[in-house]
């Protein structure tokens, strides 16, 4: 009996050492990614402390600044988005987020309702979102979807990213290598802003009604977006479909989305509509990083305008004098320092 116990203890000890080394190797070999970090830092927010959740792909990632919103209006928010996020990922990510937070509002960017998501070509974008997620039934659901669409992918490589990144040992410089664990706490609250700008100009007849038929929705994308909205409704959380400034937008698409929102019983806010553009007063020469994304300055302007709108429309709270939210003031200090040129 004693021998058996010793053996079991030794095996368990070995497994522990192995797991530690495995995790260490994972941290050395993973590709450090801002977006995965931000998605992961979400878990650190105190339970039920976030008032607004922003979900979607890169325009919302770059364009919305929760720190600006906080400083101006006093409500808390988090941008849980990533570049070219698949609708399936947005759904899973949202469902998971709602296990940790009970927001007053969910803002969803869903321009990708028009696009077919090519799983086989978007491994990088899929992984950057999933690498930031903890293991959960939602993550497994997304992985199942991925492996169904792209037969080269395996469940294990998503659960244990080391199995995917193991070849990166070749890129490591032994002298300088250091482990890069996922970010625990973020002062940016999910906003990965971009410096630099590409001067833009509104195309002719921007957002003018035309006879051309607008592009069709992609059925798969639409399905997931409907599920996302439905999920929020079941939890009694209002949803706002948001469209952020994009030079290649069209009146037709805008109308289609508005119709869709109406069908789904949710609000729609389009930053490229004339009345909103006038209020926003963005300067295409300096506020755009490229035709579809705001840069830092643009995101500040946009967040200021959006903050006012949201506060009024949804009666969002003001926590600026509440003790539990002191950390947000400190975070804002950090943000302010970082963004100053």
């Amino acid at each position: 009996m004693k021998m058996a116990l010793r053996i079991v203890i030794r095996c368990v000890a070995f497994l522990l050492v192995f797991s530690m080394l495995f995790l260490g190797a994972t941290e050395y070999l993973r590709r450090a990614d801002d977006e995965a970090d931000e998605i992961h830092a979400f878990y650190n927010e105190p339970k039920n402390s976030i008032d607004v959740l922003f979900m979607g792909s890169s325009p919302i990632l770059r364009g919305i600044s929760p720190m600006v919103l906080w400083n101006q209006e006093g409500f808390t928010s988090y941008v849980r988005a990533s570049a070219l996020q698949a609708p399936a990922v947005t759904y899973g990510l949202l469902a998971e987020s709602l296990e940790y937070q009970k927001p007053e509002l969910v803002v969803l960017l869903c321009d990708n309702i028009f696009l077919e998501f090519e799983y086989a070509e978007r491994e990088g974008d899929l992984r950057r979102a999933l690498d930031g997620m903890k293991l959960s039934k939602y993550k497994l659901q997304i992985i199942r979807q991925i492996t169904a669409e792209d037969e080269r992918q395996t469940l294990l490589s998503y659960v244990f990213p080391l199995l995917r990144y193991h070849e990166r040992w070749k890129e490591l410089d032994l002298a300088e290598a250091e482990p890069v664990p996922l970010l625990e706490n973020s002062f940016k609250k999910g906003n990965v802003y971009l410096r630099g700008s590409e001067p833009q100009a509104y195309p002719q007849n921007f957002m003018a009604p035309s006879d051309e038929a607008p592009p069709e929705f992609n059925e798969a994308a639409k399905g997931y977006i409907e599920q996302t909205i439905q999920f929020c409704k079941e939890k009694d959380i209002p949803v706002l479909l948001l469209h952020l400034p994009k030079m290649s937008w069209s009146y037709g698409q805008s109308m289609k989305l508005e119709e869709f929102a109406a069908e789904m019983g949710v609000e729609y806010l389009d930053c490229d509509r004339e009345e909103n553009r006038a209020q926003l007063n963005l300067d295409p020469a300096v506020d755009y990083y490229d035709q579809g994304h705001m840069n830092l300055d643009g995101s500040i302007k946009l967040s200021q305008w959006l903050g006012t709108h949201l506060k009024e429309a949804y009666g969002l709270p003001d926590h600026r004098n509440e003790g539990e939210y002191q950390a947000w003031h400190e975070d804002y200090q950090q943000y302010a320092e970082r963004i100053s040129p």
């Binding site: 053996i7 030794r10 070995f14 050492v17 192995f18 080394l21 495995f22 190797a25 590709r31 990614d33 792909s57 890169s58 325009p59 570049a83 070219l84 321009d111 990708n112 491994e123 990088g124 974008d125 992984r127 950057r128 080269r152 992918q153 294990l156 490589s157 080391l162 199995l163 995917r164 990144y165 193991h166 070849e167 990166r168 040992w169 070749k170 890129e171 990083y289 490229d290 035709q291 579809g292 994304h293």
Partner: protein, 532 residues
């Protein structure tokens, strides 16, 4: 279910757990079920072939067993009243009766194997021949997907049948137990080919859980996976490139390709065998050795005693001896001695069957002209080796070359390696023509520079991968040399201190994880950011 897949690991774990939890009386039943589950994963429609062989061999063997017992009883009764001539006649008569059962069963099973394996080849070549002579006949040239392990389980069951015929042991009465022997999942994929006298007891007895056995088994599996994923699959990249573009990669590249292919093939095959052996060991069953450091062989016959040992043994016991000891070849021997003198005459009953055996080993590998060529190549080398064995020995003595020293031993090993590598060109090249072309190119366009001037980097592996290949091959070589000098690695390892053992285990596991050739060949460093 590939041996290096996660499914296999899970399957083995579940199988072992259930096996050790099963009450002792029924443990063999667990194995039996596991085997069929494993085979089912390979393709349910192939089960019919396995069943056909299992049932026919079982029945044939039981029949032979019954005949043998009856004959023993009958003969014992009349033995004393018969004279020498009558005894001989009785024996001959009985042998004829046994043959009447053995031959059809043999032919049926060999027939299945041959048709599935070779009918396409034979058919298409006959058609080409007919076309050449403008004959308007078309033979069917079907191309069959071979059932998993058919070459292996067929040979294993034929050995069993012949052993029963030879009255080596009584046939197995229980059909399910017999089916277990034929379908044992670690062996069925690529051997080793087992003998009933070795395996039966091990398979049918309730093997107990032994921590040491399981530990050793798992270590062996790990080593096998290492050989396959780190060494063989890496070497494959180079080999595939060279053999796919022989016009681009001529000269020294051919030699590189042949030698690296030797490494690949050994890593892959022996790695798979190690996984099989380790898996069986976990279950308490010791399989026969299939490899004994083949590239350290000092001669071609020595090589074939170290490479795919169970196949060689099978051919020796069931083809070579029956042929060479048959009346026909005994007569050939006597005639030969009269015609060619004592020396060659004595060798004839060895030479011809040996050539036949190696020819068969060649075509056993596959139904293509290049395997026939390979068979000829091996057969010729063996025959020449036998013929010139004595004269060469005398020559060496005359030249006063020392044969007990390291330098001679090294010479023998290198010489054997070169001959083996040349043979590998024949099997790996896309066809006989290609292998001729490549060998010529190797000789004519030899440019050793490519080894130093970065020529090796054009083959699909970058510098770091080449280093991993080289170092892991050195690890393999070191282990082989240690084993050759009689050290049993796992036992020796078990005697070392805990810290050292753990370092070795962790190093092994992490080299697998980091350096294993698996996953997508995708550069995980650049995620292309496309603004949306």
């Amino acid at each position: 279910m590939a041996f290096t897949s996660v499914q296999f690991v899970v399957f083995l774990f579940l199988c072992a757990t259930v096996y050790f939890l099963t009450p002792k009386r029924y443990r063999w039943v667990t194995l039996f079920i596991a085997n069929y589950i494993f085979y089912f994963f390979a393709g349910p429609r192939y089960l019919i072939y396995l069943l056909a062989t299992t049932i026919t061999i079982y029945c044939g063997a039981r029949q032979l067993g019954k005949m043998s017992s009856k004959n023993k009883a009958d003969f014992a009764a009349v033995k004393l009243s018969l004279d020498k001539e009558e005894k001989k006649a009785w024996k001959a008569n009985f042998t004829k009766k046994k043959r009447a059962v053995l031959i059809p069963t043999l032919l049926f099973n060999l027939g299945i194997l041959s048709v599935l394996k070779y009918s396409g080849f034979v058919g298409s070549n006959l058609n080409a021949l007919f076309a050449r002579f403008s004959l308007d006949i078309t033979m069917p040239a079907p191309s069959f997907l071979l059932p998993l392990g058919i070459s292996f389980y067929t040979f294993q069951s034929l050995a069993y049948l012949i052993d029963v015929y030879r009255e080596k042991f009584e046939p197995e009465r229980n059909l399910a137990k017999f089916a277990l022997f034929i379908s044992f999942f670690p062996q069925i994929v690529q051997g080793p080919i087992g003998r009933f006298s070795d395996l039966a007891e091990q398979l049918y007895r309730p093997n107990g859980f032994s921590y040491e056995r399981v530990k050793f088994g798992v270590q062996l599996i790990l080593w096998g996976v290492f050989k396959k994923l780190v060494i063989a699959d890496r070497a494959k990249v180079i080999v595939d490139t060279i053999f796919a573009y022989p016009e681009t990669f001529g000269g020294t590249y051919v030699a590189v390709g042949a030698l690296v292919y030797c490494v690949q093939l050994y890593g892959d095959f022996s790695g798979g065998i190690d996984i099989a052996t380790g898996a069986a060991q976990v279950l308490g069953i010791q399989l026969e050795k299939n490899f004994e450091r083949p590239y350290l062989a000092t001669s071609i016959p020595d090589f074939w005693r170290r490479w795919h040992i169970t196949l060689g043994a099978w051919f020796r016991d069931y083809v070579f001896y029956p042929l060479s000891l048959s009346k026909f070849f005994m007569k050939v021997g006597r005639k030969g001695r009269k015609l060619f003198g004592n020396y060659i005459g004595k060798l004839l009953p060895v030479l011809i069957p040996q050539f036949i055996v190696f020819f068969l080993i060649g075509i056993w590998h596959g139904a293509e002209w290049k395997y026939i060529a390979f068979g000829f190549y091996n057969g010729t080398l063996i025959v020449l080796g036998i013929l010139f064995d004595q004269p060469l020995k005398k020559l060496i003595e005359k030249c006063q070359i020392r044969t007990e020293c390291f330098s001679w031993h090294l010479f023998q090993v290198l010489r054997t390696l070169v001959l083996i590598a040349l043979g590998k060109i024949i099997t790996r090249a896309p066809g006989v023509g290609a292998s001729v072309y490549m060998t010529q190119s190797m000789v004519r366009n030899w440019d050793g520079d490519i080894l130093c001037n970065g020529g090796l980097l054009k083959l699909g592996l970058d510098t770091q991968d080449l280093w991993v290949l080289l170092l892991s091959s050195l690890v393999l070589l070191t282990i082989s040399l240690l084993q050759e000098s009689g050290i049993h690695i796992r036992e020796a390892l078990a005697k070392q201190n805990l810290l050292f053992r753990w370092i070795i285990y962790l190093a092994a596991i992490f080299s697998l994880i980091l350096f294993g050739v698996y996953g997508l060949n995708y550069n995980a460093s650049d995620f292309i950011y496309r603004g949306f």
